[in-house]
Symmetry: C2
């Protein structure tokens, strides 16, 4: 394994480890618990779960891996704050989306070569990327892992 | 910049970005707010801040950068759960430790070469490292960034 392959493995291991951490939290929480606020007046578990699914869905386009699977989640879980709309999928549906997404991501990521991880992501121009080569696909995984951990810490408070 | 230097930059940028995120949260919270529980019955802000300082202090030894600056924090903030002891530093002291530590880490990390980041950390044996080269110093930064984000999400609920 070359150092660059080691660096990619470290990043992906942390991503999968973070996904597994949230799985573990979700497995001990009931749907009713996920309908509660993480702290008084703050986002509910259902909102944070939907938010994570929506943000991770958006990764597919950023990584140039095709269309979003659940474009209908962008409005209620990214553009809107929690408790603005009551028209949300059920917790059970969001759990299904989360599981399906996890499997799809792994399947897609397994096909990436080392070089592909260092290609530009779709939200940066070729000119900007030439000056800022860190704005690559692997960096999307790094930033989304941070985001996932942040909200997992909050959802874990419902236990 | 070589791909490996880019990978190191991405990891360190995310670490510094996560440290800056917690700084931002701490700057809007009063000491009194940090004495509150993040959610009913859960860890208080002061405990999570002390826990982060203690865990990051331990990074110095893991990265072979010298002795801990605050060994007295291990007992109350890592070994003990919150609210077990009342003998804790004040929030003001912990804020000072956090700021000092942030500066010290940056000074030390700035001196690392790319090769040094891929050296084994101190908690893995040479034999194990030969088989598992991902157990290196850069990976300590990756895992501690995840841990920091997890608890920052919780402390942010005090806002």
């Amino acid at each position: 394994m070359t150092p660059i392959e080691t660096a990619i493995k470290m990043t992906l291991d942390r991503w999968y480890g973070s996904v597994a951490s949230l799985d573990k939290v979700l497995n001990v929480l009931t749907d009713d618990q996920l309908l509660k606020e993480t702290a008084p007046g703050k986002n509910r578990g259902i909102y944070l779960l939907g938010h994570l699914v929506a943000v991770h869905d958006d990764m597919l386009t950023l990584l140039d891996l095709g269309e979003k699977q659940h474009p209908e989640l962008t409005e209620p879980f990214i553009k809107m704050a929690d408790k603005v709309t009551t028209e949300l999928p059920s917790v059970a549906e969001l759990r299904d989306y989360w599981s399906g997404q996890r499997a799809l991501h792994r399947e897609k990521f397994d096909q990436f070569t080392a070089d592909q991880w260092f290609e530009k992501h779709t939200a940066v121009s070729a000119d900007d990327f030439a000056k800022e080569p860190h704005r690559n696909k692997l960096n999307i995984i790094i930033s989304r892992t941070s985001h996932l951990q942040y909200h997992t810490g909050q959802i874990a408070l419902l236990k």
